[in-house]
């Protein structure tokens, strides 16, 4: 009996020390804990799959009882919304294509150039203290730790753990998630309206466009530019603009163009909107409008490529002193209802080697 107690005490001490050892190892970024997880996954995965099949009717029944009315109401609302947005979607798709062509033309990185893997969500987090989902694609599909994950609406998180045929995705709402983002703000200056120019001082197309050969008529110009790969079409310009015949011209200043403030987006747990803190404390809250879009900032050390849509500003919280404003963000992706996701095969430098 006494021997048994001694053995139990030894086992207890060993296990407690192992726990402290592994926590230290894991927080230090060691890869050995990932190997332990993969070994355990090899044993656990078949058991989990059997459990999933056996318990599916129970979880299905729970969802049917709990969400039936909501689903019917949402279905009606979505039908109406789809009808409204069908036209807008065509226009938006054309704008996106145009934007990608322009970015590619100028040698700028675009999402279209990054390969991706489509995955399905097969499980939610089993704990209340992490915001993760499990997807049905893993290392065998080329997925690695750190890769950004999107759904049809926008960014939803990043891959944090990869197994052979599945992976864990940390959602953007997890308090451990942080990402550099850009906020497109309005201009701080008012536009300048120039008086009507006399006919002889009117700007010609030559002075507006950087051209090598321009032939201008009163209403139509054919332009040849020096930009590689760009084939311009005939440009039709209203005669009165070229001639400046008595009308005012509003000239957009450089300061009138959208300003991009850079900040850090941080998750705050379930049911709470993520926030953006600014790197530049001099950012003025007045320059940021509610509804301004938030996109990923990109950059060599960023966790995601640039210009992935994340959400819109839902509230601007001003702070006293020199501290810059804090923005509350309404995510465009509905994190409570994820089904099919897209993993961008883009591994940030900070996560390489994991």
């Amino acid at each position: 009996m006494a021997q048994n107690k001694t053995n139990l005490t030894r086992a207890l001490v060993l296990l407690a020390l192992a726990a402290v050892f592994f926590i230290t190892l894991d927080l230090g970024g060691s890869g050995s804990t990932s190997r332990v997880r993969r070994m355990f996954d090899t044993i656990f995965s078949p058991v989990e799959n059997v459990s999933r099949v056996v318990t599916r009717p129970l979880s299905g029944a729970w969802n049917a009882v709990r969400e039936y009315d909501d689903v019917v109401a949402e279905n009606d609302r979505l039908k109406e919304q789809v009808a409204l947005q069908e036209g807008a979607a065509v226009a938006a798709a054309a704008s996106v294509r145009l934007s990608q062509e322009l970015l590619a033309l100028n040698g700028l990185p675009t999402l279209a150039g990054i390969n991706s893997v489509t995955a399905q969500v097969i499980g939610e987090t089993p704990t209340n203290f992490s915001q993760t989902v499990e997807i049905n694609q893993g290392e065998n599909s080329g997925i690695k730790v750190g890769m950004p994950v999107l759904n049809a609406a926008g960014l939803i998180g990043k891959v944090t753990e990869v197994f052979a045929d599945r992976a864990l995705v940390m959602l953007i709402s997890d308090p451990d998630y942080a990402l550099s983002v850009k906020v497109v703000t309005k201009s701080s200056r008012t536009p300048v309206t120039l008086p009507p120019l006399p006919t002889e001082d009117a700007p010609t197309v030559d002075s507006v466009l950087e051209t090598t050969d321009t032939s201008t008529t009163s209403s139509t110009s054919t332009t040849t530019t020096t930009i590689l790969g760009f084939t311009p079409s005939a440009t039709t310009i209203p005669a009165e603009v070229v001639a400046g015949a008595g009308s005012s011209i509003t000239v957009p200043l450089a300061s009138q163009l959208s300003v991009r403030e850079t900040g850090i987006l941080e998750g705050r747990g379930p049911g709470t909107r993520p926030i953006v803190r600014f790197l530049d404390a001099t950012t003025r809250a007045a320059a940021i409008e509610v509804g301004a879009p938030i996109v990923s900032a990109g950059g060599s050390r960023s966790l995601a490529p640039p210009d992935i849509v994340i959400g819109v500003v839902s509230r601007v919280v001003e702070r006293l002193g020199t501290a810059g404003p804090v923005l509350e963000i309404e995510l465009v992706a509905d994190l409570s209802n994820l089904s099919f996701l897209r993993v961008l095969l883009y591994q940030p430098i900070t996560e390489s080697g994991r």
Partner: protein, 174 residues
């Protein structure tokens, strides 16, 4: 051969197998069925049930072993849940110590309180190791959900833990 059989049939092997089964339920059924948006913690209930039926050492060991297994499927640092469940298992056992012959409902209550406490201990341990952000009112709701679920599931879990951790093993002959 007899030694290997005894090891396979030992209560610690049974513990790993039973914990594996319960963990698969935790990651499937209990992850999807979320009252008020929170997942009831079956593993914490199992550990608390083990602690309430055995001494402090056994309760803590069951907690540490189950916690390591739980950590292996989570993205949090390996060992966090082990520490939390170790505390829960030992705590459940300590709560039962003042009662010489506890009634069935008292045991269920102790299991429920201990399991619910895991939802408070987890963010505390997270904060200690530098993973902040979870110390808020949400954890109280999560604890209430686990407490209510434990009132339902503690009844069946207590005999399961007794069978799992029983020391007598019948191998046909000794």
């Amino acid at each position: 051969m007899g030694r290997i059989l005894r090891t396979i049939a030992s209560r610690w092997s049974r513990l790993v197998l039973v914990a594996l089964l319960l963990l698969s339920l935790q990651t499937t059924l209990f992850s999807e069925v979320r009252p008020f948006g929170y997942s009831a913690q079956l593993m914490a209930m199992f550990v608390a049930a083990a602690g309430s039926s055995h001494d402090v050492r056994v309760g803590a060991i069951v907690g540490l072993v189950s916690g390591f297994m739980f950590d292996a499927v989570l993205a949090t640092p390996l060992g966090i849940s082990a520490v939390v469940f170790g505390v829960v298992g030992a705590g459940a056992s300590l709560m039962m110590q003042p009662f010489r012959e506890p009634t069935w409902w008292l045991r269920i209550l102790v299991v429920s309180v201990s399991a619910a406490s895991s939802e408070v201990v987890t963010p505390l341990v997270n904060s200690v190791v530098g993973l902040g952000g979870w110390l808020n009112l949400h954890m109280l709701v999560a604890a209430l959900v686990t407490f209510a679920a434990a009132l339902l599931f503690a009844g069946p879990l207590i005999p399961v833990t007794r069978w799992t951790l029983s020391e007598k093993v019948s191998l046909g002959r000794d």
